[in-house]
Subunit: 193 residues, 4 copies
DNA sequence: CATGAATGAGTGTTCATTCAT
DNA sequence: GATGAATGAACACTCATTCAT
C-alpha cells in the first residue's frame, strides 16, 4: 500500500473517530487499531497526534473547496449557485457526516490545537474560505447580493449551514436532510440581499 | 460565602478557562487555584469536572435566555426584536466573550460530554431555544417572517450570530463588533422572510 | 511524614537504584514502588525524573563536602588531612557505596543530563570541589605540597580515589577496602609534592 | 566496502555519538543514518546495539593498549615511560576525544551493559590493563616505583589521567591540554614511589 | 547485500478523584 | 467546612529489533 494511501486511510478513520468521540477522547492506539497498524507505525506517517488533526482539516477543507470551486465555475445566477452549493453541501453532509462534524467540532472548537507561531491556524481553511469569497463577490457583481461587510456575508452562508449541521448532528431533524435544501438556500440568498 | 456564591464563582472562572484553553486542557487543580480553594473543596460543589461543564452551560444559556426573554416581552415589531437581540448579543459577546466562547467551543463541540442515558444533552440549552422559538413564532404570526421549518429559522438566527462569533474569536474582525449590528440584524431578518 | 523526609527517602532509594542499574534503566515506577508511594505522588516531590537526578547529586556532594569540611578545620598537617580524608572516604564508600557509585556513574557519565542553559551542571558539585581546593591550598601554604596547576592537584586527589572506587565497584578488590587506606593516602600525598 | 571496514566505520561513528549524547540517548537509527546505511543493514554487522557498545570498548582499549605497548618496549627509565605515556595519552585525547570520552562515560558508567553471565565485563579492557601492569612491574623491578598493591598503583596512573580527562571534557581547562603533561607525569611518578 | 516498513512493549508524565485529617 | 496528600489508570510517543522483499 502506498504511503499516500495509508495516510488517507488514517485521516479518514481519524476523522470518523474524532467526530464521534472528540479529539481528546480518541487515542492514537485506537486510531492505529482501527486500520490495523501498530502505534509505532502510525508515527511513520504523522509526527504527532496533533499533526494528524491538522492534516485532517486540510483534507476536509480541500474537499469542500473542490465542490464549491466547481460550482463557482458554472454559468448560472448566484442564487442558483447558492442553491447548488446547499444541495451539494447537504449531500456531502449526508454521505460524510464525520468530515463535516470534524470540521465543526474539532477545528472550530479546539482552536488552540491549530494555532502556532502567532498565526491562528485559520489559514488551514483558507482554500475553502477563498471560494466562499468568490461566491459572494460574484453575487455582488451581478447585484443579486448587496454589498456588505465580507464577514457578515461569510457568516450568513457558513452560519446558516453550520446551524443546520449542528442540528443534524444532534439527531433531531426529520429523516432526509435534503428536504431542507430549498428553504435553506432561499434563506441564505435572502440574508445576502 | 454562601454556597451558591461559591458555585457561581467557580462557574465563572471555569467558563473563562474552558473558553481559553478548552475543557480537556483545563485541570480541576487550575480551576480551584484560580479562585483560591483546594481541589478537595471543589468537589463539595460539583461532583465531577463534567458536571461543572454542564452547570456552566445552564448558567450561560440562562443568561442568554433572560436577555432574549425580556426582548420578547417588548411590544415592538419582530424586525425590531431581532435588532434588539443582535445588539444585546453583540454587547454580551463583547462583555463576556468567555461565556459565548464556552457555549460555542465546549458545548457545541464536545457533545459527548453532555449527552447521557440516551438523551443528547440538548435540553441543557432548552430554556434558550424556547425563547428563540417564541421570537420566531411571533414574527410568523405578524407575517413579518415566512412560515418555514423551525429548524431552518433557528439556524438562520443562531447560525449567523454563530458565524460572526467565531470570526470575532479569531481576532480577524475590526475593532468594535457593534458596528456589525445593523448589517447582521438586517441579514437575519431577510433570511427569515 | 514530613515532605523533606519523603524527599530524602526518595533520593536515597533512587541513589541505590540508579547506582545499580543506571539512570536510564531505572523507571520512575520502580523508584515509587521501592518506597511504597504511587507514581503520581512521586511527582509531588520532583517535577521530573531528571530533577531527581540533580537533587541526588546535590545530596551526595553535600555529604561529601561536609566530611571534608570538618577535616579541613582540624589542626593537623596536610599529609594527615589527606590521610583522614582517605579513611573517611573509604569508610563512606563502604557504608554508602550507592552514593559514591551514583556520583561516579551517573553524574560523571551522563553530563548531558545535568547541564542546562549553557552552564555545564558542574556547579552542582561546587560545594565539594571548593573543599578540595581548601585542602590543596592549605598544603601548598605549609609547603607540604608543591605549587602546581589546581586542576592537576585536583585530579591527583579525586582521580586516585576514583580509581580505587571503580575497582571496588567491580568487586575485584580484596575484602576490606580500608586496608588500602595507607597506601592510597601516601600515594596521594606523594603525587601532590 | 569490506565488512571489517564497515564495522570500523560504524564503531567510530557510534563512539562519537555515544560520547556526545550517551548510550541511551543515541538510537540505532541515528547511528545507521550517520554512515548512510539502513537500520536493517546495521544488524548485519552487530546483533544488537549492546554488542556494538562492547565492540566499541574493545576497539578503544586495543588502541590505547597499542600505544602503551610500544612505550613499554622502549628502553628508557620507568619515569620516562610514564612521561611518554602521558604525552601520548594527552595527544590521543586531543585527537580522539570521543574515544576516551566513550571509555570513561559509557564503559565506566554503564557497567550493567557490559557484564553478563556473572562476569563483570571488565575483561573487555584486559588488554589495556595488562599493559598498565607491565608498566608498573617494570618500575618496581628497577626500584623506581615502590612495591604496593597493584590496584593502588593502577588507580594512581589511570585515576590521575581520568581526573584530567573529566576536567577536559567539562571544558574548564585552558587551551592546550599538552601543557599539563609535565606536571601530570611528575605527579603520577611521585604517586608510585 | 541492502532496505525500511512494521511491531509493540515500555517510558515519563498527567490528572480526575478520593479521603484522612 | 476545608485541605492537599495520595492514587493509579491512561496517554502520547520512542525505539530496538525483525523480516519480507
Amino acid at each position: 500500500m502506498l504511503k499516500k494511501e495509508r495516510e488517507s486511510q488514517i485521516i479518514e478513520s481519524a476523522l470518523d473517530m474524532f467526530s464521534k468521540k472528540g479529539f481528546y477522547c480518541t487515542t492514537v492506539a485506537q486510531i492505529a487499531k482501527s486500520i490495523n497498524i501498530s502505534v509505532g507505525h502510525f508515527y511513520n506517517f504523522f509526527p504527532s497526534k496533533n499533526s494528524l488533526a491538522k492534516a485532517s482539516i486540510t483534507f476536509v477543507t480541500k474537499k469542500l473547496a473542490q465542490e464549491l470551486s466547481s460550482i463557482n465555475k458554472t454559468h448560472v445566477s448566484s442564487k442558483e449557485k447558492i442553491h447548488l452549493f446547499v444541495v451539494s453541501y447537504l449531500n456531502f453532509l449526508d454521505q460524510n457526516p464525520q468530515m463535516i462534524d470534524y470540521f465543526f467540532k474539532v477545528y472550530l472548537a479546539n482552536r488552540e490545537m491549530f494555532s502556532e507561531d502567532g498565526d491562528s491556524g485559520f489559514k488551514l481553511a483558507k482554500v475553502f474560505i477563498d471560494e466562499i469569497e468568490v461566491l459572494i463577490n460574484d453575487g455582488i457583481k451581478t447585484n443579486e447580493f448587496s454589498q456588505k461587510d465580507f464577514y457578515v456575508s461569510f457568516s450568513c452562508i457558513t452560519g446558516i449551514l453550520g446551524g443546520i449541521t449542528f442540528l443534524n448532528g444532534e439527531d433531531i431533524l426529520d429523516e432526509g436532510i435534503q428536504k431542507y435544501a430549498n428553504e435553506l438556500s432561499l434563506s441564505i440568498v435572502n440574508s445576502l440581499r
